[in-house]
Symmetry: C2
Subunit: 325 residues, 2 copies
């Protein structure tokens, strides 16, 4: 029988630790608040404590510990660089710290890369070798699997879909994230309201301008509000153009869309798909292309962190997930 895997989801709000068996079946899961405001040392103490909770009696039954963590981080060295939602973290050698605590192999991946591995191993991209996973929420991240292997680049900084530059006017350069992530949707709606466009959202503004977020815009759009619909259409078009770049550069089999904003569904998908069809170089890129919502729910980070261990930090072919154990 194969060894078990420990997976840890280090988030800005929650820490989750789990034990998987050798076939990536979840055996045990524990969760705690991150309490990031207490700083790195307290959080690392808590991480160790929750890893301890899910460890089997004998460490020799464990293949390794995988982490899903917010970026930027260096997956090659296991150093967390400076995640915006982990205040006080600056060049923390998390892999070294956990490795020396438990004496086990440790692999760390950024949350989008890890989610890509998860969706490819047991989610919407299962069975595919050319996979693009895009998450649209507070930021826009991505993970790419190229011919079965996670794309990392020299220092693990690859797959930053959100930072594809987009020219907005003659010389004004923006990015996919700055135009289409949740905060951009909210900002664009507020700007249109300030400019005097009529909208059901103006009731919220009268109350508190800050209370308009992407979710409120989505609700208004679903109720037929034109301003809100237009704002989502802009975001969808920009994401669509980004995906056109991705199709031409990676020629994938599947594009998986995750993240809170992607749950807006057709509000985002319809303009996005229009732009893709309109600007793709050749029909061949769309033939048999699957564009699908993420299939894994809350456990995506844990499944992906386990898959990260099984693929030796994403360096092995994902077919190893079937073979290794």
């Amino acid at each position: 029988m194969g060894k078990g895997i420990i997976a840890v989801d280090l988030g800005g709000t929650q820490i989750r630790a789990a034990r998987f068996d050798h076939q990536l079946n979840l055996l045990q899961r524990e969760r705690a608040l991150t309490l990031a405001e207490e700083g790195p040392e307290a959080v690392i103490q808590r991480l160790k404590q929750y890893i301890e909770k899910v460890l089997p009696p004998s460490l020799s039954d464990v293949a390794g510990i995988g982490f899903s963590s917010p970026g930027p981080l260096n997956p090659m060295t296991g150093v967390i660089i400076a995640p915006p939602n982990l205040p006080g973290w600056r060049d923390v050698p998390l892999a070294d710290i956990i490795r020396s605590e438990f004496g086990l192999p440790v692999f760390i991946g950024n949350d989008a890369n890890v989610a890509a591995l998860a969706e490819a191993s047991s989610g919407a991209a299962q069975g595919h070798r050319h996979v693009v996973y895009i998450t649209v929420s507070t930021g826009i991240g991505a993970g790419m699997i190229c011919d079965g292997r996670l794309l990392l680049g020299r220092d693990g900084l690859a797959a930053e879909f959100g930072h594809i530059p987009i020219i907005i006017e003659q010389d004004k350069v923006s990015s996919v994230e700055l135009e289409a992530a949740g905060p951009a949707i909210a900002r664009r709606a507020r700007a249109a309201l300030r400019a005097g466009s009529p909208s059901s959202l103006s009731e919220l503004v009268a109350d508190d301008n800050g209370s308009i977020d992407a979710k409120a815009v989505a609700l208004a759009a679903r109720a037929g509000d034109q301003l809100a619909t237009d704002v989502f259409a802009h975001a969808g078009r920009i994401i669509g153009l980004g995906i056109v770049s991705i199709l031409h550069l990676f020629n994938p089999e599947v594009v998986v869309l995750g993240g809170g904003v992607s749950k807006a569904g057709d509000l985002l998908y319809a303009p996005m798909l229009d732009v893709i069809r309109q600007h793709v170089l050749d029909e061949a890129y769309l033939k048999d292309l699957k564009i699908a919502p993420a299939a894994l729910g809350d456990d995506v980070a844990l499944v992906g962190a386990a898959a990260l261990v099984a693929t030796d930090g994403g360096h092995l072919d994902i077919s190893e997930l079937d073979r290794l154990f």
Copy 2:
């Protein structure tokens, strides 16, 4: 001793065939005019004839035949789809035809992918595992090597750098190629002249508007002409923005620039590097990044076609180039 390799460069103007030894040393080279206007059958006949010329006495001493061909083509099936500069070619199963003629393994790659392999095996990107090769001439093509392997995508349609969409105005979508390839440079110069901008190029226009090509614009720019300099600056900025996308998506070690237009040097490089520095997400992408002109000259396609055989059509790691033989 290892086996020799046959390499063929199928171009719109010339056919070249060569024999390499097992260490990619060129042993023999033959060339002929393509005479593409005679149609596929005549050209294929000529290809066979020139392959024959460079074959060693015994076919069992040959590892395989590699082709560099204009795209679009499918490297998985070895079918040439419809190259603009090979009139009459439509879904030609070139790999099958050559395989059944000589009974040898045949590998076909598009010219930009093949050039990327060449530069990585013995050119400006030698010794690197994360390589982006970009060629700027009549079109803009590219080849990517991700962690040692040629990026092909599902059907070999990946790495189309020239077709990254670029928004030029609010809703007008263009592409890197449409804004920065040779014909775009010429077109932009002619448009500026027609709009009445003063330029030394106007002498050429008085003569024959069509005689303004990218080379003429480069010559005028080097002589200090402002219009010509501005036109190259636009092309350089667009290529720079495309490279920013590439840095964020691939996190390469090296970006190699080839193709006729890239020989404009600083006219293109200075605005390109400015844009890269200005819009890159983080200094980490630029640290130790090498941006270099292509090092291989006319033989790039032959060297790359030989490397294609040595890497089993780009599926094997480029480190096999050292190991296999």
